[in-house]
C-alpha cells in the first residue's frame, strides 16, 4: 500500500502545489492527471527517493517506471535485463504481449514502444509491491496500448500489486483506473470515471 500525507514539494523555494494526500490500495490502480509542470513526475520522484519533500510517505517495496524510456541496461540483452531484475516468471506475459522474439535483442535494437513494454514487464515481475508509472506507454499505438492496458489491469490483481499511474490521456485513465485524481495548484480532486471530456477540461483549467 502507498499512503501519502500532507505532501508538498518545493522547487527553488516555490511550492508546486498545496499539501496533498493520496492513498493507493492493494490490487488497485490510481491514475494521477494534471497539467504539464504541475508536479506529477515530482511526486513520483519524491516517492522514489530522488527528490526532497515535506510530509509523510509510507510506501512498500516499489518500482518506478520513468518517462525517459531508457531504464533497460543497453549492454545486456532484454532477456538478461529481465533475468537480473525479475524474481518471478515473466515469460507468459512476454508471450501474451507478442514480444518473445525480441528477448535476445539489445534494448537499442528494438523500438521505443517495445522497450516501454519490457520495462513495464520488468517492473511487474520485480517483486515490488507498488508500481509507480510515469506515462509508461506513451510510445504505443492505440490498439497495442489498449491490449497492454487490458492485460496490465488483470496482472495488477493477479500479482497483488498497487499502481500509481500518470497519464495525460483521459480515455486511458478511465480504462485502467480504479480512482482518478486530478492535481491542480490548490488541491487534489477525485474525478468520476464517467466524467465527460468537456467537464474534465473545465476542471483542468480551474
Amino acid at each position: 500500500m502507498l499512503s501519502i500525507t500532507d505532501l508538498s514539494i518545493a522547487i527553488n523555494g516555490q511550492n508546486l502545489f498545496l499539501p496533498i494526500n493520496i492513498n493507493v490500495e492493494t490490487n488497485s490502480i490510481t491514475v494521477l492527471m494534471g497539467n504539464s509542470g504541475i508536479g506529477k513526475t515530482s511526486i513520483l520522484n519524491a516517492i522514489s527517493g530522488n527528490l526532497k519533500y515535506n510530509g509523510n510517505i509510507a510506501c512498500e517495496k516499489h518500482f518506478t517506471i520513468f518517462q525517459d524510456n531508457n531504464q533497460l541496461f543497453p549492454w545486456y540483452s532484454i532477456r538478461k535485463n529481465l533475468d537480473l531484475v525479475c524474481n518471478q516468471t515473466y515469460i507468459l506475459t512476454v508471450r501474451d504481449w507478442n514480444l518473445e522474439h525480441l528477448l535476445d535483442y539489445k534494448p537499442d535494437e528494438i523500438s521505443g514502444g517495445e522497450r516501454q513494454r519490457f520495462t513495464l514487464i520488468r517492473g511487474m515481475y520485480s517483486g515490488a509491491k507498488i508500481l509507480l508509472c510515469d506515462e509508461p506507454l506513451s510510445g504505443l499505438d492505440s490498439l497495442t496500448r489498449y491490449f497492454v492496458l487490458k492485460d496490465f489491469k488483470n496482472k495488477i490483481t493477479e500479482l497483488n500489486l498497487s499502481c500509481l499511474w500518470i497519464t495525460h490521456d483521459l480515455r486511458e485513465a478511465k480504462f485502467i483506473s480504479n480512482n482518478i485524481k486530478l492535481l491542480t495548484k490548490t488541491k487534489l480532486l477525485s474525478i468520476k470515471r464517467n466524467i465527460s471530456e468537456q467537464s474534465f477540461i473545465k476542471k483542468l483549467g480551474n
Binding site: 520522484n45 522514489s48 527517493g49 530522488n50 517495496k61 516499489h62 518500482f63 518506478t64 520513468f66 531504464q71 541496461f73 543497453p74 549492454w75 545486456y76 537480473l84 531484475v85 539489445k106 537499442d108 517492473g123 520485480s126 515490488a128
Partner: protein
C-alpha cells in the same frame, strides 16, 4: 563516385599515395640522397632491416616497456580512483593534487627520479606513468560521476547491493568512456616513451626503438632512420586500431 571516395580503404590508399608523391617531390627538389633517400631505397632498407635481430630486439624492448608502463598506469589509476570513491574527503584532496600536478610536464620530474634511480628504466617508467596519471585519474572520476547521475535513480529501483551494482551497472556503463580515455592515454605514454628513448639514447643497457633511431642518425644511416620512424608510426597505428575496434564493441 563521391561515395567511393569516402570509403575508408580508398581514403587510406589516397593518403598513402599522396605521402609517397610528396616524399618523391622532396627527394627530387632537394637532390640530397643523404637527407632525402628515395622511396624505393627506404622500402628496400625496410625489408632488409626487419630481417635483422637488432631491429626486433629494440622493437621488443620498446613494446614491452610500453606495456609495462600502461599496466602500471591502469593499476595505479584504478587504485587511486577506488580509494577516492571510498570517501568524499579523500577525493577532494586527490582532486587538489590533480589540479596541482596536471599542468606539470612529466619530463620536469626526470631530475628528481634520476636522483633516486639514476637514468634507468625505472625512471623512464615513472615519467611515462606520470605523463598521464593525473589526467586519467581525474577524467575517470568524472566519468564515474556521469554514470552515477545517469543510472542512480534506476538503480534505486533494484535494491541491489554495491557489488552487484558495481558489476552490472557501474563497470559496463563507464566502459565506453574508459575505453575512450584509454585511447588517449596510451598515446601519451607511447609519445613519452619514444621521446625519452630519443633524448637519452641507450640508458644502462636499455636500447629501444628511439635509442636505435638516434644511434643510426649519429652513424648517418639515414635510410634506416626513416625505416625506424615508419615502424614507430606503424606501431602507433596498429595499437590505435586495436583499441578503436575494442572500444566500438563497448559503445552503447
Amino acid at each position: 563516385m563521391s561515395n567511393l571516395l569516402l570509403k575508408n580503404w580508398v581514403i587510406n590508399i589516397i593518403s598513402i599515395a599522396l605521402l609517397i608523391i610528396f616524399w618523391q617531390l622532396l627527394y627530387m627538389i632537394a637532390d640530397e640522397t643523404l637527407v632525402f633517400p628515395s622511396i624505393l631505397s627506404i622500402v628496400t632498407v625496410f625489408f632488409k632491416i626487419i630481417q635483422t635481430s637488432l631491429f626486433w630486439q629494440t622493437y621488443y624492448q620498446t613494446v614491452i616497456t610500453l606495456i609495462e608502463a600502461w599496466l602500471i598506469t591502469i593499476f595505479s589509476v584504478s587504485l587511486s580512483v577506488s580509494i577516492c570513491l571510498l570517501s568524499p574527503f579523500i577525493r577532494k584532496i586527490f582532486e587538489k593534487y590533480c589540479y596541482f600536478f596536471m599542468p606539470l610536464p612529466s619530463f620536469a620530474t626526470i631530475p628528481i627520479f634520476s636522483l633516486f634511480f639514476g637514468l634507468s628504466k625505472t625512471t623512464m617508467l615513472l615519467v611515462m606513468v606520470l605523463s598521464v596519471y593525473w589526467f586519467l585519474s581525474y577524467q575517470t572520476l568524472i566519468a564515474i560521476d556521469a554514470v552515477k547521475i545517469k543510472w542512480n535513480k534506476h538503480i534505486k529501483n533494484l535494491n541491489w547491493n554495491f557489488t552487484k551494482i558495481f558489476i552490472h551497472v557501474y563497470i559496463p556503463a563507464s566502459a565506453p568512456i574508459l575505453f575512450g580515455l584509454n585511447n588517449v592515454s596510451w598515446t601519451y605514454i607511447w609519445r613519452t616513451l619514444i621521446t625519452l628513448e630519443i633524448a637519452y639514447g641507450a640508458i644502462g643497457g636499455y636500447f629501444g626503438l628511439g635509442s636505435y633511431l638516434i644511434d643510426v642518425k649519429n652513424k648517418l644511416d639515414i635510410d634506416i632512420m626513416y625505416v625506424i620512424l615508419i615502424s614507430i608510426a606503424l606501431t602507433g597505428v596498429i595499437i590505435n586500431n586495436g583499441f578503436d575496434k575494442l572500444s566500438k564493441k563497448f559503445n552503447w
